[in-house]
C-alpha cells in the first residue's frame, strides 16, 4: 500500500515537473526567438508584457463582460448537449430497431465538420445568444451520442446477471452496475464535449458576433493588437486545460480498476 502510494506520488511529482519543464521551455523559446532576432517585438511581444496584459485584462470590466457572455453560452450549451446526448444515446441503444436506423446516421453526421453549417445557423437564428448556444449544442451532441453508445456497450451482461441473481431491483442495477461501469467513458465524454463545445461557440463568436471572447479575439487580430490577442489566447487555453485536467483527475479516480 505504502509503496503503491509512494509510486503514484512520484508519478504525480514527475508529471508536475514535466509540466513546469514544458511551460518553461515554451517561455524560453519565446524569449530566445526575440533575443536572436528570429522574431521581432512587432510580431511577438515579449512574454513579460503579454503576461502583464493578461493580468490587466482580468481587471477590465469590458473583458470580464465578454467572459460572462461566452461563459453563459458555453454553460447553457453544455447543460443542454450533455444530458440530452446521453439520454438520446441510451434511448437509441436500448431499442435494437432504432439502433439499426439511427446509429449509422449519427456516425455519418459525426464525420462532417460542423463548421460548414455555421452560416445556416445565422440564417435560422440570427446573430444572438440562441444562435451561439444552438451551434454549440450542434457541435457537441454527436460526440456525446457516440460516447453514450460505447458507454452502454461497455456494460457486461454478466455483471447485470449477477446483480439479478442476487435480487437487485432495476433501480439498483442502474445505480450499482450501469453507473460504475459507464463512469469512465461518460467522464471522457464530458471532457470531449467541452472541447467540441468551446470550439463551436468561440468559432461562432469569431465569425459573427457583437459580444464574447471569440469576438474580442477576432477583433484584436484584425486590429493588430498582438499583446491582447496573445494574452486572450493564453487565458482561454489555461481555462480549457484547467477544466480538462480537473475532469481527467476525476476520471482517473473512477477508472483505477480498468487495468
Amino acid at each position: 500500500m505504502a509503496a503503491a502510494f509512494r509510486r503514484s506520488a512520484a508519478r504525480r511529482l514527475g508529471g508536475l515537473l514535466s509540466w513546469i519543464g514544458l511551460v518553461g521551455a515554451i517561455a524560453a523559446a519565446w524569449q530566445a526567438s526575440l533575443w536572436f532576432g528570429v522574431m521581432t517585438p512587432e510580431l511577438l511581444p515579449p512574454i513579460g508584457e503579454v503576461l502583464a496584459t493578461a493580468v490587466s485584462l482580468l481587471g477590465r470590466p469590458a473583458f470580464l463582460a465578454s467572459v460572462g457572455v461566452t461563459l453563459a453560452e458555453v454553460l447553457v450549451a453544455f447543460a443542454i448537449a450533455v444530458p440530452l446526448g446521453v439520454a438520446l444515446g441510451f434511448a437509441i441503444s436500448e431499442s435494437s430497431y432504432w439502433s439499426a436506423i439511427l446509429k449509422p446516421i449519427v456516425f455519418l453526421i459525426f464525420s462532417i465538420p460542423k463548421t460548414i453549417f455555421l452560416p445556416m445557423f445565422i440564417l435560422a437564428f440570427g446573430i444572438n445568444f440562441g444562435q451561439k448556444v444552438g451551434f454549440g449544442v450542434f457541435s457537441t451532441i454527436f460526440i456525446v451520442l457516440i460516447s453514450s453508445f460505447s458507454a452502454l456497450d461497455s456494460v457486461k451482461s454478466d455483471h447485470v446477471r449477477v446483480a439479478r441473481a442476487y435480487g437487485a431491483s432495476p433501480w439498483q442495477i442502474a445505480w450499482r452496475v450501469y453507473m460504475p461501469a459507464m463512469a469512465p467513458i461518460l467522464l471522457e465524454a464530458v471532457r470531449l464535449a467541452m472541447i467540441f463545445n468551446l470550439t463551436g461557440i468561440l468559432l461562432a463568436e469569431m465569425y459573427a458576433s457583437r459580444a464574447g471572447l471569440g469576438q474580442l479575439i477576432a477583433s484584436w487580430g484584425e486590429n493588430y493588437m498582438l499583446k491582447e490577442l496573445l494574452a486572450g489566447i493564453l487565458l482561454i487555453a489555461a481555462a480549457a486545460i484547467l477544466f480538462n485536467e480537473a475532469v481527467r483527475w476525476f476520471e482517473a479516480r473512477c477508472e483505477h480498476w480498468r487495468s
Binding site: D158, V162, A163, R164, G167, R176, H256
Partner: protein, 290 residues
C-alpha cells in the same frame, strides 16, 4: 469434516436417485420442501429465432436431495447452462416447475440459491471484500455486519489478507474463490455453479475442485455444478447427470461410488475410468455432430 457431510446425506430419501425416471417422481414430493432440496419437474424450453422454433430442453425431471453434490455434464449446446439458469430463477422455462428449498423459482431468491458464474463475473470496480458484500448491500444489511460476514466467507475460501485487492490484482483461481465467497455470503442452502473453472488452467482447476469439495464438506450445502469436463464431473460428484445434445434431455444418472474425501490418486482407478467411459459413450456421437 467431509465424513460428517456424508453422514447427513447418506440417509436422505432421494439419495437413491439412480432409480428409473418414472419412479423418481415418487420420493420427490417428500423432499421438495426441505431446505437444500431441488426439484425440477417436467421442464421444457423452446425459443424461436426469427420464426424458427427450437426445442432447447425436453421434459427434464430431476430431484436432488439436500447436501448432495450433483454435476450436470453434456456436450456444448445441450442446454445444461440454460437449465441451471432456470434453476436459479434467472430465466423462466416454457413449461414445468422448479422448486428449490420449498420455494418455486419464478425469480432469483438469494436466500435459497447462491450462484457462481463463469469467469469475469466479479465487479472490477469493487475490491474482493466489496464484491462479496455486494449481495448484502443490495438488501441494506448494516455495514458492520456486512463487513464481518464477507470477511468470514473470504477466510473460508482461503483469501484472508486479500480483502482489499481488486479483481485485476487477483489470479483466475483467486477470482473464482471470491465468486464462491460471494455465492455463500447470504448463507443459502444451495450453491449453483455454471462452469466456474472452465477458464482456468488444468492445475488450478484441480486445486479449485479440491477447494470446492472442502468448502462443500465444511458447509453442508447442496451443490449443483455444470461442466463439460468428464474428469471434473467424475472427480467432484455424488451423482452425475448426463444430458444429450439439443433438445437437452437427461439420458443418464450415475451414482459415483468413489469414497470421500476424494484424492488425486482416484483419477487413476478403474472405477474413475469406467465413469468417464460411461459418460463419453453416451455423448460421443453428439459431440461430433455438433
Amino acid at each position: 469434516m467431509s465424513t460428517m457431510a456424508r453422514g447427513t446425506t447418506a440417509g436422505s430419501p432421494a439419495s437413491a436417485s439412480a432409480v428409473p425416471r418414472s419412479e423418481a417422481k415418487a420420493p420427490l414430493r417428500i423432499v421438495a420442501s426441505a431446505p437444500g432440496a431441488v426439484s425440477v419437474a417436467g421442464v421444457s424450453h423452446t425459443y424461436d429465432v426469427s420464426g424458427r422454433v427450437t426445442k432447447a430442453l425436453d421434459e427434464i425431471d430431476l430431484a436432488i436431495a439436500p447436501g448432495r453434490f450433483v454435476v450436470i455434464v453434456g456436450p456444448s449446446g445441450c442446454g445444461k447452462s440454460s437449465l441451471l439458469m432456470m434453476m436459479t430463477g434467472l430465466t423462466k422455462p416454457t413449461a414445468g416447475t422448479i422448486v428449490c428449498g420449498g420455494r418455486p423459482m419464478t425469480e432469483p431468491d438469494p436466500d435459497v440459491v447462491g450462484v457462481v458464474f463463469q469467469e469475469a463475473s466479479l465487479y472490477p470496480w469493487l475490491t474482493a471484500q466489496d464484491n462479496v458484500e455486494f449481495p448484502l448491500s443490495l438488501r441494506r444489511v448494516p455495514k458492520a455486519e456486512r463487513a464481518a460476514r464477507a470477511r468470514e466467507k473470504l477466510a473460508l475460501v482461503g483469501l484472508q489478507g486479500f480483502e482489499d485487492r481488486y479483481p485485476h490484482e487477483l489470479s483466475g483461481g483467486m477470482k473464482q474463490r471470491v465468486s464462491i465467497a460471494r455465492g455463500l455470503v447470504q448463507n443459502p442452502s444451495i450453491l449453483m455453479l455454471d462452469e466456474p473453472f472452465a477458464a482456468l488452467d488444468e492445475q488450478t482447476r484441480i486445486t479449485m475442485g479440491d477447494e470446492l469439495l472442502r468448502i462443500w464438506a465444511e458447509t453442508g450445502k447442496t451443490v449443483v455444478f455444470v461442466t463439460h469436463s468428464l474428469s471434473e464431473a467424475a472427480y467432484l460428484a455424488d451423482e452425475i447427470v448426463v444430458m444429450s445434445a439439443r433438445p437437452g434431455r437427461i439420458i443418464d444418472r450415475i451414482e459415483v461410488a468413489l469414497p470421500r474425501p476424494r484424492t488425486y490418486e482416484m483419477m487413476s482407478t478403474p472405477h474413475f475410468a469406467e465413469l468417464r467411459e460411461r459418460i463419453w459413450r453416451q455423448i460421443r456421437h453428439q459431440v461430433s455432430e455438433g
